[in-house]
Assembly symmetry: C2
Homo-oligomer: 454 residues x 2
């Protein structure tokens, strides 16, 4: 068989009935999160530049681009929305995939589904199976691929999105394999562009490549059928580790990888998130106010010390990489979910600076990357500590509350509520109607709630 054939068979063959209720609920969260970060990212400079490029090219009115009332070709919509949803680097992540699944997979699948006036149910199934395929391909390629310098969000993402789109168009095995072959020789993306507009661009280009690969295969384009694993194929040329995966369908039924997708709830460096969650938990459970706190100690994996322990941030961007400042913001009730909270002025705040002075950060190699322990000492003398590991996902109700709250912070309460309701009704709505309503919700919100400049 070989991976190309196996993964194609899984993606086009998996029955929608095998999808658990939990997996469907998590997909809905990721779609809500995708809208939040994409709407919040649509005015970023990189998104605007890509949109101008697309506007000048024009083309058939097929699919929606967030922030625009004109439709564009499906490939262009996948490109623009892919860039928008990764522009803030605030979109969902997956450990097995080693990257951000929805920026690529939702962007591509949604654009193609809209251009074909698919039902919401068909889109949801395709996006979920495509995301699961991307997690499987990401696992197969392994961390070696990422460590060699390839942006797995774009590479595994393009391949997974290609499978999602192949499923959407009800491809047979041959067509699905040809589409993967095309995607394998088209997809790219280097980590050495991180820190530039190149990072979100990689995600958008990957989504566009997936749409292109599937539309060419639909027209009869043929390619080498074992493109991922063959001699000098995608894996061999891209430092793939080719891990064993077992039987996909069985694995999916018993343990859907995509269910463990993570959503980011703070608009700062990922290394700070676990400590923010731990502090919030202490303050909430023990009803401690910031005035009562005498000292805060944080233990984290040593790798973070060089990443996000800026002691005296001077700009909002630097505050995103400062344990002391981010924890101070949370303690004082500033919304760390909103990118707009991280403005340069906060670094001048006496109150924040004073609290930040009470925070101490210690490296501790016993902590995994994803965990932190926060200990607080109150003026009363009482001591509370809390360990938090991002890998231990809270239950669905908590995840849902957090995703919806983040959406409110990012795009406004009304738009967030309306889009959430649209997503709940999605199985029974056509995608073009859904997108029209979602865009209307965003545009109405913009009029009554001007977001601060980023």
């Amino acid at each position: 068989m070989g991976l190309t054939r196996d993964i194609a068979q899984f993606a086009i063959g998996a029955s929608g009935d095998e999808v658990s209720k939990q997996a469907r609920a998590v997909m809905a969260l990721s779609i809500m999160d995708w809208f939040s970060v994409a709407i919040a990212g649509k005015d970023e400079p990189v998104t605007r530049i890509v949109f101008q490029f697309i506007q000048k090219e024009g083309g058939a009115a097929q699919s929606s681009i967030l922030g625009s009332s004109t439709k564009y070709p499906a490939r262009a919509a996948a490109f623009a929305n892919g860039v928008a949803s990764h522009a803030l680097d605030y979109d969902d992540t997956h450990f097995a995939y080693v990257g951000h699944p929805s920026a690529v997979i939702v962007s591509a699948t949604l654009a193609l589904a809209e251009s074909r006036k698919c039902t919401g149910q068909k889109f949801l199934d395709a996006a979920l199976i495509g995301a699961e395929s991307a997690c499987l391909i990401g696992t197969w390629l392994g961390r070696g691929h990422y460590q060699a310098g390839f942006h797995q969000t774009a590479t595994a993402g393009c391949l997974g999105a290609t499978l999602a789109c192949a499923r959407l168009l009800e491809f047979d095995m041959k067509k699905a394999q040809h589409a993967l072959g095309i995607a394998s020789t088209r997809t790219a993306g280097l980590k050495s562009q991180f820190g530039t507009m190149g990072k979100p661009y990689n995600a958008g280009a990957a989504a566009a490549n997936a749409v292109e690969s599937v539309l060419l295969a639909e027209h009869g384009f043929t390619s080498a059928g074992n493109a991922l694993e063959c001699e000098q194929g995608f894996s061999a040329t891209h430092a793939g580790e080719e891990h064993q995966l077992g039987n996909f369908t069985e694995r999916f039924r018993n343990n859907c990888l995509f269910e463990s997708v993570q959503h980011k709830f703070h608009s700062c460096c990922h290394g700070i998130h676990a400590s923010l969650e731990a502090l919030a938990q202490i303050m909430e459970e023990h009803r401690v106010s910031h005035e009562e706190i005498k000292r805060v100690s944080v233990s984290v994996n040593p790798r973070w010390m060089k990443v996000c322990d800026i002691k005296q941030p001077k700009t909002g961007l630097q505050a995103k990489f400062s344990y002391r400042f981010a924890l101070a913001m949370l303690a004082l009730g500033i919304d760390t979910a909103a990118p707009a909270s991280f403005v340069d002025e906060i670094c001048q705040s006496m109150e924040l600076g004073e609290f930040a002075g009470r925070v101490q950060v210690e490296p501790d190699s016993e902590h995994p990357d994803t965990a932190a322990t926060v200990t607080i000492e109150a003026h009363s003398g009482s001591i509370h500590d809390q360990y938090y590991d991002l890998e231990n996902l809270p239950d669905l109700a908590v995840r849902t509350r957090k995703v919806r709250s983040k959406a409110g912070s990012l795009i406004g309460e009304t738009a967030a509520r309306q889009i959430w309701n649209l997503i709940q009704a999605l199985p029974h709505t056509s995608i073009d109607r859904f997108m029209q309503d979602a865009i209307a919700s965003d545009q109405a919100e913009s009029r009554v709630w001007p977001r601060s400049e980023r």
Copy 2:
């Protein structure tokens, strides 16, 4: 400095005055050859599929696609013409670049130049400097990059085409470096797709990527400035060998690499070309007819024995990989330059089969890949032998005659003559007028000279 900066500086800074007359003449040959193979390749299945995809997307009427009277966005035109010009694998090649330069560079530069209504002179300068840049980047990456599985036509080609387009739009250093950064994270192409539609697709996608990279950089898109040589940059992730190149500008003035571009003159496997040239030379110089030939012996590098020594071809495609048959065709006056000559029926020809039986092929490791020795023994008893190495390029007059003769075989005498005249007048013509006239020449020819089905 670093390669990214150096090559960008060369490409945008080189003065048109430094371009030798010989280099300009060779560029004109490559443009003629590009039109020949692209027009001949425009009805290939892969080209038709890509064109259908482009047609459905539609968009701004900016640039011409061969075979279409509607214009499309520059990026789409680069894509379609890139695929068309590489579809027959009959386009120009360069040893240092390790690939086919014009399919990518001419396709991208021409499309962008037309969309901006540039002068012919500006286009010619940009294409030549871009092609030279691609040869330099190809040399820098080295054969290791190709041997690892990357399709250098697409990779070095996209980077060179990006520089050609950056020059066309008169970018400053910063913009040119950003464009290269974008291209470095966008370009792809695997050799494992050879033998499928993926091969010409790689060339077309590379041309489209170059146009996209430059248009984004023009709009203000920023990227990492040392994208080719930085840690985990393009070279490090793509098995680049990073050969030393010396001073580009000086090197270009003294030894323009692009001048040694090769044009293919026979529509069969490249391994047979040197022996065809040697046989033609003997028959012409010594006025030997095919009836007078008793025996033909061919010595070639052993690597070709497994590639193109099919003894009893059954199809036209197999005849393209048969020394005996291809030499028989040439000896009997069949036009080996025309792809249409290699039809299945020729394998049934008694006369060809009879001549083929007189040809013997011997492996000889003293011969380089690019050379052959042909010895003929006439019935009269006289013996002639001829060594031919494709690397020893004939003088410009001979190359010109051959390129024009190939053009006549491929696209018809009238169209070939008209397009040749248009290219001669190109320095003083605007590109949009030039393309309009070239397409009209092609379309007029098609009406009076129906080409046989391939």
